[in-house]
Amino acid sequence: MKPKIFMLVDAAQFYVSCERVFNGALHLKPTVVLSNNDGCLVAVSREARRLGLVRGQPFFQCQQIIRAHQVQVYSSNYAVYAELSRRMMGVLAQLLPRLEEYSIDEAFGELTDLAINDLTEFARTVKARVYQLTGIPIRVAVASTKCLTKIASALLKGDEHSGDVLDLTGFTQEQLDAALARVAIEDVWGIGPKSALFLRNYGVQTAKDLRDADERWIKKNLTVVGARIQMELKGTSCLPLEVKRPPKQQIICAKSFGREITSLIELEEAVSCYVARAAEKLRAQDGLSGRLTVFLRTNGFATNAPQYANEFTVDLPSPTAFTPELIRQALAGLHAMYREGYRYKKVGIVLSRITPLPVVQPDLFGEVSLVEHYREMQLMAVVDAINRIFGRETLVFAVQGWTRSWRMRQDRLSQHWLSRWEEMLTI
């Protein structure tokens, strides 16, 4: 069988790169982007990393470095990042006919049938093309399996002189051994923290150790999942490209509040908003949800305040994507959990047991009427259509509230360069 060839494209510090496309002043300056609510650093530029800032660090812990070195700080501007991601994926799709969009800033491509002579040269072309068309710098890794492209990408991350392109297919056995030995077991794609700890206890410290470990022992302790990773590290592809993403089995909507909140009314607003958003996503994939979970918690960082966290799961009487019914169930769960006197920092909801739309059955006792179901779906289709055409949350349910003063904090948001006339780039 012909050996396979995969390519992994990922945009280093994607969010920082997005900010830089529209703001020349950020070029070469230490820049960071904060997570939701301006909580942690989610993207750290190379220059900021040299100052000791790392991804995941809480924002309040690095104020001193930020002030001392005039680090540029931005809130996550997802409207811009999502649009630039869409453009980047579009450019990649023109170059790689088989493409798996893996995350907002990563994609796998398969080159097996493309008859490319010089893979390194092709990788450089992809990088140059994406930069020219979008302004986003990317790393490009080429190897015979998806897992090995991840290894190559991890090697690129630590090497500033690599030109951001690495092709493992041309490596000799010795070069490959050395490369795999440089990647820690925690950084191997698909090995979670627990497995990594377990493997380390048995002396498996690097990707090379995992590749060379006893196959039966790996399969016994890390199941077939671990066995596949091992095969992939040996160069045998067993994880194919997932060109068509399977519909989500779970939809989560949870955000921390901009401030701590105590009143039940505000919690109701937030829960209703999250349910409405999740239900919209559920309908977009033509799904119905059979189970709903609501959770809430206080601020874990405020160690001297009383702490409380709880969650409530309900199996819905019949699978539904009807927002009012989901809101009703979620609020019942919230009321059951709510305790006065706590300062809440986060609530969230999860829709699970998702089934595709066409399998709804009227139940034996006639409690679900198909006619009723279609009326509900028709109503939601109108709501979704209006919100799609006239902008998000044009039509909301009253319980979602109007002021939303609990909304997440985004104090350092750049502009909606690509989606609002009044905020477009001006030069």
């Binding site: 020349g24 070029h27 070469l28 453009r87 302004g135 259509a385």
Partner: protein, 136 residues
Amino acid sequence: MPETGDIFPLVPLWPQQVHAGFPSPGDDWKEPPLNLHDLVVPHPLSSYFIRVSGDSMRGACIRAGDIVVVDRALTAAHRKIVVARVGEHLLLKRVQVQQRKVFLHADPPEMPAIELDQQADMEIWGVVTYCVHRVR
């Protein structure tokens, strides 16, 4: 289950088709109407709209308040109008190639030209293809 039809009057997603009279003889020749976006944005993945703040490019008929369409897919060439990043600034300029050197000029050339130096911290951001100007 609450009677939702009472709270939210049901709106049909598409207005009811009226089956009466004669079908239009034009039905079979319908074409989508002209869309300006198709004309000015042939490369949607690489095109950006940018508002112009000053009159330094009036020689190219680009005035303050206009919106230019900038296509990153195109390569800059002599006489093209471009957006360039020079250090920290994004600038709107005209490219002039003189004796194998590339210069960025205002139009009319009131300010000193900037030489585009491969070594310096500057790059062409995109090429201007259209200008949307409101006629008053």
